[in-house]
Symmetry: C2
Subunit: 444 residues, 2 copies
Amino acid sequence: MQDRLIDLVNTNALKELRAILIDMNEVDIAQLFENIDREQIVKIFRLMPKEQAAEVFAYLTTETQQLIVETISDKEIAIILDELFLDDTVDFIDEMPASVVKRVLKNANPETRKYINTFLQYADDTAGSVMTIEFVDLRKKMTVAEAFDHIRKTGVDKETIYTCYVTDKNRYLEGIVSVRKLLLSNDDELIGDIMKSNVIFANTSDDQETIGNMFSKYGLISIPVVDSEKRLVGIITIDDALGIIEQEATEDFEKMAAITPSEKPYLKTSIFELAKHRILWLLILMISATFTGGIMKGYEDVLSSMIILSIFIPMLMDTGGNAGSQSATLIIRGLALNEIQTKDWGKVISKEFLVALISGSVLAIVNYFRIILFGMGTPAVALVVSLSMLITVIMAKVVGGILPIVANKVHVDPAIMASPLITTIVDALALFVYFSLARVLLGI
Amino acid sequence: MQDRLIDLVNTNALKELRAILIDMNEVDIAQLFENIDREQIVKIFRLMPKEQAAEVFAYLTTETQQLIVETISDKEIAIILDELFLDDTVDFIDEMPASVVKRVLKNANPETRKYINTFLQYADDTAGSVMTIEFVDLRKKMTVAEAFDHIRKTGVDKETIYTCYVTDKNRYLEGIVSVRKLLLSNDDELIGDIMKSNVIFANTSDDQETIGNMFSKYGLISIPVVDSEKRLVGIITIDDALGIIEQEATEDFEKMAAITPSEKPYLKTSIFELAKHRILWLLILMISATFTGGIMKGYEDVLSSMIILSIFIPMLMDTGGNAGSQSATLIIRGLALNEIQTKDWGKVISKEFLVALISGSVLAIVNYFRIILFGMGTPAVALVVSLSMLITVIMAKVVGGILPIVANKVHVDPAIMASPLITTIVDALALFVYFSLARVLLGI
């Protein structure tokens, strides 16, 4: 499909192209824009009716948005701004260089300009920064019929009409009523009588992760956002919540792999940005690994009298690291989804200890017989390696289980307590145990 | 709030409790049930009106659901089944022991029983297994007024009424129309004239991950599911999609930490299950690490003539592992979100190579001066270690970037190509490079 459209663009078959575009989904059209030559973009953009053009605009990448805004007329900018939802406008302006922002603000109507300026002030990743203002507001004393009239008159410009918000004249949030409820009620019933007053709402300063968890916990399609006086200032709809949930998960993946999080997709990120986001953690971890070297240096006598011992070091370290990151990952994810709380630390330690005892014992036994059967070492060496294995797995799992909870307690993101950091800690512990056992059991 | 409710339960203040429950969100009530004594559960469950009880039931854990079903009467079971949406019924039955399933099916009405049996046959994690049948269907020749009548008459039992599905008499999906569109149209317009016929839909056999990606790509609130003849058989609503997206992310987190995925929350999983899900991968990886030991054994002469070399092994291995898992994580996540495709392999290799060249060089230089300044080795040793570092980082990033794409190409889940496996591979490569360089540059 995309290929055929690109053909039409290249052969300049604009009439045919227009006919197809009108029937297409805006997301798919936006995708087309990313695959055609820069010179063609504005020409194709102007083919679309203005509502559709604005909707497609919201789905474009920052680069394409900028290219379009820099090419089209002031009047065209004003039309797009008029059609865009405020949250999309703010997202777009947030990414533009100052010169573009200035031109866009100049062409916004005064009310929109005021809203944009307010919204740009909400801190990143808070409810305020992701909400939008296009909601339906009703009054308690309206009848169902009046509510429908109001929706019919104003609904075309709203992000969602399916949940309506009941406010008083000071914009204080009194309740919500769904269109489903309105449809199933009689025309003369009062909104105040059918609304739900026990409303789940967010504050402008709430973290977006909290918002994502509210959506998935309660299965809502929109959440009202209130200011410190409980005045309704915006709503967040579930399509944005979906983006938030994916973004938060991506950030956790990145933090857990010791990468500074970034919102840009991989293929759109430059080499230098990619390197910048990775190098700091690699440096920190490389230098931390010096401790491990220090421990080995301290046991140089043990090592030099039995070179065979060094052969098992990579296996011990890797197994310890893997055992620790298994535990850390489960706990970090559990904390992110609110399935585990700080108060559960005791349960986590005892669970991890017992799990480690079981899995560590199995690994130790398998390892013992492997060393003996393949003639990789004497029974005494096999014993040292296997005992170290058991103790390492126990330490790794307890450390991996508890550090994310400690981080959470002191308000550090638990995700940074993931594999790389755990591995570095566990490596040092593992080597220490290994050499101490060797010294005692092998009498070196 | 939860504490006060538990007090009311314990003091048997049922009247007061009932008054509070009626106004509460069903999700919060379900949470209350998990915190009270088993003996109290059915008593409190029976306090609620039947619609609310059924809704709360859908949010309970499997254990609590089973406890309730085993205690209440056949008639009460029939009432709950009548109120539950089919997808919740199927989810619940899927987890029950055979004896409970038998009793539940006996009390379902014949039509529901037929549907349950059909739905239980869809493979796990497919669109068929997560969809539900409670949707509004309209006909092309209906007027808007007739459509509203139809919604008012049947809408109370539907999972969503906001997107209505237009089918012909053979249940073939012809289009969709939103309640928003209906509200903004005139009463005498025909559904066939206002419906959207370019519909985004899923097939019953589609993977649930695909469904999750469709929701987030297109910002939909429901997706119709059709059979092989494009007959409409069900819908998936966005609240279920949210669960799918979180579940798929959790599965990726678990696979990437070398854990067999599980749908149960950590605190609800037994010690033995936790151990079972971790031990297989730990064993596989422990045995793979034997190769690393083998390489070290092959270079025993190098090691024994310069024990100092062994001190840098943990640092080299850890840095290589971290560099590789950074790359693997970004690519695995990009593939999961459809931001990266198999055809991008060339771009990924060249990006990873250049990123590795930059970050590897920085690490190597820092490392060189660190060794010299702290008197940890001779300039020759520092050179060997630093060169090995650069080459290891390059290999780690290229291997970490490309293996997930290879896995994707051969239809293996890329998530298993995460840190633990990459670490094992990179460890072996790093040791090989290190000892080879030592032999050549130090003339051992």
